[in-house]
């Protein structure tokens, strides 16, 4: 029985990073900007978090270091997303192509500086100070569910709060209404005095901040260092979660938990009788194949923001 509690727990660890990134993608895409660059933004966050946390530990910040890493990931993620924003919003470049370029560039920059900072090593040193799990009193004593849900990393609690906040922000505030208007019908939004570019910049920068947090989560809770394969497709799985969750914070969180489960099951394959003889490669493929199947099964393309992918040109409304 204990295994099930641990499985839920590991699922949440993997889902947390996906939810962060998918929320980021949501803000960007709700404003009308496709963000294929989520993967690269996660790489940036993971890299910045590793470097900042390591340096903070060296400087004697102790258990406060991972928090400094989180802040660094947000700042660096936003900086990188600005490249995307300038190219796609101000200069109206193809959003998909720029996203792919962001992915290539983010990985190149991260690995180059990892090697020049740490004497040619292709990965950062193991971090001394990373997040440890926090138990919520009383609730964590509940059998199975307590172990599963209430004995988690701080980042998991943060992301749970952020899902609620994002939902409120998107559907209950003027800011959310305007952001959605810009993504659905930018020329109407412009007519009523909403600054389309400004809202799109905010959307893309939020995606940088949140995807950065997602990447940092993986460094600070799972791998404890940054290497070229720390982020391996999670940004794209987050995008799939966003589509499957119909660009809704609650929906994407549910989808991300499903994909998190697909990643977590890999670590438990050896513990169950039925899965012992399945080759490990099958479990490595599982998250990606499941994502593909889910995308093929998910109907309702119409739920994407209608101006998604189109640069806004006031001269052509």
């Amino acid at each position: 029985m204990e295994v099930w509690g641990q499985l839920i727990n590991t699922t949440l660890v993997f889902s947390t990073a996906l939810i962060f990134a998918a929320l980021g993608g949501m803000f960007s895409e709700r404003s009308g900007v496709v963000n294929i660059g989520l993967e690269g933004l996660m790489v940036s966050g993971a890299f910045a978090a590793a470097v900042a946390t390591y340096s903070a530990s060296e400087a004697g910040f102790g258990s406060g270091s991972p928090w400094i890493g989180l802040i660094a990931a947000v700042v660096y993620g936003v900086l990188f997303s600005l490249l995307h924003a300038v190219a796609t919003i101000t200069f109206k470049s193809d959003q998909t192509v720029v996203g792919v370029v962001i992915n290539i560039l983010a990985l190149g920059v991260a690995i180059y500086f990892t090697r020049s900072l740490y004497d040619g090593s292709v990965q950062t040193p193991q971090l001394y100070d990373v997040f440890s799990k926090v138990s919520i009193p009383l609730l964590s004593d509940i059998p199975i569910l307590g172990e599963g849900f209430f004995h988690a990393y701080p980042t998991t609690y943060i992301v749970a709060i952020l899902v609620a906040v994002s939902y409120f922000l998107l559907f209950k505030t003027p800011f959310g209404l305007r952001l959605r208007a810009v993504g659905e019908h930018p020329s109407s939004a412009d007519t009523v005095g909403i600054n389309v570019s400004r809202y799109r910049y905010i959307g893309v920068m939020l995606s940088g901040a949140l995807a950065g947090l997602g990447g940092a989560t993986i460094t600070l809770t799972t791998t404890s260092s940054f290497a070229y394969n720390t982020i391996s497709g999670q940004g794209f799985i987050a995008l799939a979660a966003l589509i499957f969750g119909k660009w809704n914070p609650l929906g994407l969180a549910g989808a991300a938990v499903f994909f998190g489960f697909a990643q977590a099951i890999r670590n438990f394959a050896q513990l169950f009788d039925w899965s012992k003889n399945i080759p490990t490669e099958v479990f490595y493929m599982l998250p990606y194949v499941l994502t593909l199947i889910v995308l093929a099964a998910a109907v309702g393309r119409s739920s994407a923001p209608s101006a998604l992918g189109q640069p806004y040109d006031p001269a052509r409304r």
């Binding site: 190219a87 200069f91 799939a240 080759p279 994502t291 593909l292 995308l295």
Partner: protein, 361 residues
């Protein structure tokens, strides 16, 4: 030759050239930031590339797969599809060729061609999945291809480990000599650099790319769908079938790239920790080359040369070879966001025309 004229007209050539210069400058800035000497680094890069017949041959070896993946990406681009899955199709091409090369033992005139065709088909079918999912289920090809890239990597590793493994090693048994594509006399001539027939096939591929798209009815259809799917549909073209067809042709090009990596270069297939990356570089090549045959060829020479020469940079100037990823990434960033380049050039252009006006007056 209208098309050649179009390729070489001034403004379309200006943006890529300026982007290359900007990319090299950003690379230099990154080197300064990391505490290295950019001038020494770039000099060592050129010395490595043109230093000896061996290195020149190896540079050609590094350029060859980029020609294949470059035309694969460019072909799909021309038909309105973004084939980011070239990476996975490349890996499937490797796997198909390795399977035939290791498991079968046939006379050379059947073995080699069969291995090549099998690898090409593996690549084509792998890409066909993406096209099929897009045509029938409306699945965005970017996300599905990324998922298939990872699937291909682990599937290839599984096939090598389960059926082809050289005992005690992390790679397949060697491919039979009858399927290998080495050019022995050229290898001798180039001081043992790994020269193979794939380079010639890649150049032929560039020609096929041109003929297929611009000289056949099918190619016209493919480009029409890429240009405006609604209009193509209205004109009676089967858009969905075109999408699948285009992806499969693109995948065949990508698969061929993988085929010659195993048949021409390595002679076996290793269990990979990450995919080889030629597919992603193919995107860079296609973008810089403007999806034209000549452009793709020139861009693959540039990026292949940079990638191979980067080992010279780390040898000569101690710069991590990943600097080249930053240079290539910056170059295609500027090509993709050409508005930025034009914006930066504007003051110079205006100044020039102002000067001209002054001269006239």
């Amino acid at each position: 030759m209208d098309t050649t004229k179009k390729i070489f007209n001034k403004s379309s050539l200006l943006v890529p050239l300026v982007s290359i210069v900007l990319g090299l400058i950003i690379g230099a800035i990154a080197m300064l930031a990391g505490g290295y000497n950019p001038i020494l680094a770039y000099t060592s890069l050129f010395e490595r590339l043109f230093g000896s017949p061996y290195h020149m041959g190896e540079a050609i070896r590094a350029i060859t797969p980029l020609i294949f993946t470059g035309i694969a990406v460019a072909f799909a681009f021309r038909t309105g599809l973004f084939n980011i899955g070239v990476e996975g199709q490349f890996v499937m091409g490797m796997t198909g060729a390795t399977l035939i090369g290791v498991l079968l033992d046939l006379p050379w005139y059947i073995h080699g061609p069969l291995a090549i065709v099998t690898g090409a088909l593996f690549g084509g079918l792998w890409a066909g999945i993406v096209g099929f999912l897009k045509a029938t289920r409306g699945v965005n090809e970017v996300i599905s291809s990324i998922m298939l890239n990872w699937t291909a990597l682990y599937l290839a590793n599984y096939i090598v480990a389960a059926f082809l493994l050289e005992p005690g090693q992390q790679k397949s048994r060697p491919i039979h000599a009858s399927a290998l594509m080495h050019i022995d006399w050229l290898i001798e001539l180039m001081d043992r650099a790994r020269m193979h027939w794939g380079t010639l096939i890649a150049l032929l591929g560039v020609g096929v790319f041109y003929l297929l798209l611009w000289r056949t009815k099918q190619g016209y259809e493919l480009r029409a769908v890429g240009h405006n799917p609604d209009a193509a549909l209205y004109a009676g073209m089967n858009v969905n079938r075109t999408i699948v067809k285009s992806m499969m042709i693109s995948g065949v090009f990508a698969g061929l790239g993988g085929v010659f990596e195993v048949l021409g270069v390595f002679g076996n297939q290793t269990i990979m920790a990450a995919s080889p990356g030629y597919g992603f570089d193919g995107i860079a090549v296609a973008l810089l080359g403007g999806n034209t045959p000549v452009g793709v060829l020139l861009a693959s020479i540039l990026f292949g040369g940079l990638s191979y020469g980067s080992s010279g940079m780390s040898f000569g100037a101690g710069v991590p070879s990943e600097i080249v990823r930053i240079v290539i990434g910056s170059v295609i960033f500027f090509v993709a966001a050409h508005g930025i380049v034009k914006y930066m050039l504007k003051p110079f252009m205006q100044k020039r025309s102002a000067d001209k006006r002054k001269e006239a007056a």
